[in-house]
Amino acid sequence: MFKAVLADSRIWKNVIDSISTLVEEGVFIADPSGIRLRAMDPSRVAMVDMELPKAAFESYDCAQEMPIGVNFDDMKNIMKRTGSNEKLELEKLDEEARLKIRFKGKSSRTFSLPLLDLGKEELSAPRISFNATLKIPANTLMEAIKDAEVVSDFVKITAEDNQMKIAASGDRGEVDVVITKESGELLSVEQKEGAHALYSLTYLSKMMAASSLSEIAVLMFSTDMPMRLDFNPSSGGKIVYYLAPRMEAE
C-alpha cells in the first residue's frame, strides 16, 4: 500500500507537466524513501529523471517498492482540474491496478486512474561528465530559446570566457543571444574548458515546462555531448533532463 499527501497539489501538477512534455507512458517507482521516475521520449532523444523524496510530502507511507505505470495524458487531464489551495492525496492499494487521486480543498474530489502494466525495468542515467556548468534564471533561458525559434529549429550553445552564447541561423535569418555574468543574468559559471554543442529547439522548449517548478535552471554540457538541465524545486526533489546533441552531418 502506498499513500502520500502533498500540501500543495500544484506541485504534483507541475511535476506531471514536466514529464508529460516528453513521454506518453512511464512507471513511477514508489519506495519507502520517496517517488522516482526515469523515462525516455519515444524518439530516444531526451530523458527525464524525476525524484520527489519523502521529505517533500506532508505525509508519506510506503512499506515496499511499488511500480505505478501511468498514461501521462490521462494523468495530466486529471491534474488540470485542481485549483489553488488544494491538498493532494495519492493512494494505491496493493491489489488494485488503480491510483486514487484526491483533491482536498473546499470539497473533496476523488479521481481513480487505471494503471498500466509496463513492467519495471529501470533505465540508467547517461554516463557522461560535463565540462561546463551554467546557472541561469529559467526565464532568461526560455526567452533565448524563443528568440532562436524565430529563425531555426536548433541552436548552438557555447560557454567560454564566463559567457554563455545562444546562436541560431537558418533560411529565416540569424540570431545571437549573449548572457554575461556582469549583467547579473548568468548567476554562476564553472568550466574546465570551452564548450559548444548543437541542440534541438523542439526538445529544449518542451523541457522548459519544468520552469514552473523552479525559477533557476542549471545547464551542464561539454562539446558535442548531451546536455543536462536541472530544475530543483524549493519544496524538495528534482527534475533533470538529458538531451542528446545534434551533429554536423558528413
Binding site: 519515444p42 524518439s43 530516444r44 531526451a46 557522461i128 523542439t202 548531451p226 545534434r246 554536423e248 552531418a249
Partner: protein, 704 residues
Amino acid sequence: MKAGVLEGKNLVLAVPTASGKTMVAELCALKHIMERGGKVLYLVPLKALATEKYEEFQKFTKIGIKVILSTGDFDYIDPTLGRHDIIIATNEKADSIFRHRPSWVNALSLIVADEIHLLGDGSRGPTLEALLTGFRLLNPKAQILALSATISNADEIAEWLSSVPITSNWRPVPLLEGVYFQQSVVFKDGQHRKIEGEEKDPVALLAADVIRSGGQMLVFTGSRLSATSLAKRISEPVRKRLKRSEERKLMDLSSKMLRMGERTRISDRLAMAVANGVAFHHAGLTYEQRRAVEGAFRSFLIKCVCATPTLASGVNLPARRVLIYDYRRYEAGVGQTNIPVLEEKQMAGRAGRPKYDSQGEAIMLARSEAERDFLLEEYVLAKPEKVWSKLGAASSLRSHILATITMGLAHSQEDVFDFLEKSFCAYQYGINSFRNAVLESLEMLSSEGMVKSDERKLIPTALGRRVAELYIDPKSAVILRNGLKIRRSGIPPISYLALICHTPDMPKLYVRRRELEALKAFLEANSDLLLYDLPEEEGFECEMLLEEIKTALLLKDWIEESPEDGIVERFDVGSGDIYSYVESAKWLVHAAHELAKLLRCEEALTPLLKLYIRVENGIKEELLPIVSLRGVGRVRARALFSAGFTTIDDLKRASPTELNRIPTIGPETIRSIKEQVGGTVSKAEWSMVKSKRGTKQLSIEDYE
C-alpha cells in the same frame, strides 16, 4: 616449381603457407585469360578468405581483367558472373551455382581449389569433393590447380585428379618449432633457449619476450572462453611495453571499436583489451570487429592476438611467434581429444611475417616434463596425417546424388555409381564400401518423391529439382514439406522457426545442463505449436529437440527486436554467432517459402515472406511497411516508428525538418526516403536536404 603448370597440366601443390602458392595460381590464371581468353574459377573454403582473395586480385583490374566475388544466397545466381574473367567463390556457393547449370560453366578453363586438404573435413569436405568430381565430368578439358597445406598423401589426391603432385617444405621465412617448459624452449633440432623476464605466467613471459625484440605473438586456444580470458591475463604485461604514441593510437582504436555496431559485453571486453595492445579473435565477434583486429595487428599496433583455431584456417595473419596454448579440444560426442597434427602444423605455419621476420617460431606449451616429451614426439617431430574422404556419409550422399541426377549427370542407377566411381572416396575406399549407403539414399529420394524411376531411368521431379537448387538437404525438404502440409490458419512465427530449426541444415545452439528444465517446460507447454511430431521416448532425440528449441527461441528474440546484448547473455553466444544463425535461418525460411509455392500451400506464403523479412532485418511485424525502403534498416525503421511515422503514407506527408529531428535520420537518409516515397516537399526544405550539409540528431541511448 613449374612442373608444366603453365602448359596446362593439372597440379596438386602441397607446400607451406606463404611460400608462393598464390603466386603460382595467379600466374596460371593470367596465362589462361591473356593467352587463351579463358575463364577462371577460384574456390576457397570460407567467406572471409573469398573476400581476402578478391581484394588481392583487385590489382589485375588495372590491366583490364574483370574479377567478381560471388557471395550471397544459395538460390540466387548473379547473371553477370559469366561476363567476368575470374570468379571467386566459396566451395558451397560454387556447388550451388553449378546446380543451376549456368552456361559459362563450360567456358571455364581453369579451376583453382584452395585448401584442398579440407577434403578430409567432415562438414566441408564432401561438398568440395562432389563439386570437383562433377566439374570434371561437365568440363573435362579444364585445368585443375589444387593448393594444399603440407599433407602426407598429396600424391593420392593428385592421382585422383590426374595431376602432378608437388610437395615441398620450403618457406620464405624459416620456421623453428619447439616446446616451452619452465622458462625454456626446446626446438626441433635439440637446441635450447632460455626465455628471460620477470613474468611468472608463461604466456605473458613469451609475449613480453617477443615484443621486446619488436615482434608480435599469435596465441591459439581451444575455446573462445580461454581466448577471451587469456587476452585479459596478458593485457597488463603487454601494456607495460607499449610506446607512448602506440598507447594513444590504441586508445583511439579502442573507442572507435566501441562504436562499431551494438554494444555488448563482448565488445566492451574487446575494446578494453585493444586499449592495452591485446585482442581476442573468434567467430563470436562481428565481421567489422574481426577486420579491425586483423588490420591493427598487421600494422603492428596490436601486439598479441589470442584466437581460436578458425583463424589458422582462415585469413592470413602471420606473426613472428605463434604459441599453441591448447592442443586438446572438446568435440561433441567424443569429449576432449587431441587435435590432428595437420591442424597443429596449420597453426604453426602462421609463424614468421614475410619481409619483417628473419625467422618464425611456433611454440607449444607444456605443463610437465612428460608433456614436453609427448608434444615433441607427437606434434613437433610428427608428420601430418593423411587426408581421408568423408563423402561416404549418408547425409552428404543423398544431397549430392540428387544434384547429380537433377543436373543431368546421371540418368540411371548405373550412372550414379559411375559418377561416384570417380570420387576421391571411391579412389580411397572403393565404391563397394558405400554401395549400401548409395542405395539407401536413392531409395529415400524416390520414396519422398524427389526422383521418379521409369523403367531403369531416374528422372528428377519438380520437387527434386527445386530441392537441389535451393541447396538444402533432401531430409530438410521432407521435414519442411511435412510441416507445411499441416494446414491451419494463424500459425505463429515461432512454429515456422521451430520447423526450420528441426532440419539438419540449421546449426543448433548448445544446451547447458541448467537450461534443460526451462526448455523442457517450454516444449511441453507449447507442443501444440510444433509442425512436427515429438518423439515418443526421451533420450538423444529429445536433447537434440531442446537444442532446436533453444535456437528457435534465439531467432524469436531476434525478430522481437531484443537488444543484442540481451541475446548474447541469454543464449551465451557472440554477436557474430547471431549473424550466422540469422543467415542460416534466412536461407531455410526462403527454402520453406519456395517449397510452399511449389506445393501450393497458399496460406503459408504470406506468413513465410513476412518472416523472411523479419529474420533478415531483426524486426517486429509492425516495422514491415517501412523497412522495405532503401537505406532504412532495423535501427532507422524503429526510430521512424517511435517518432510516429509508421507507414509509407506517413513518410509521404512528413516534412524533411520533422524527419531530421529523429535520431539516426540525417539529410542523406531523408533525401533517399523522400525520393522513394514521393510526396510534396517545399523548395527551401529540399535544398537543405539536397545540399547534404546539415545536422543529424543523436540519441540519448548512445550514452547509456
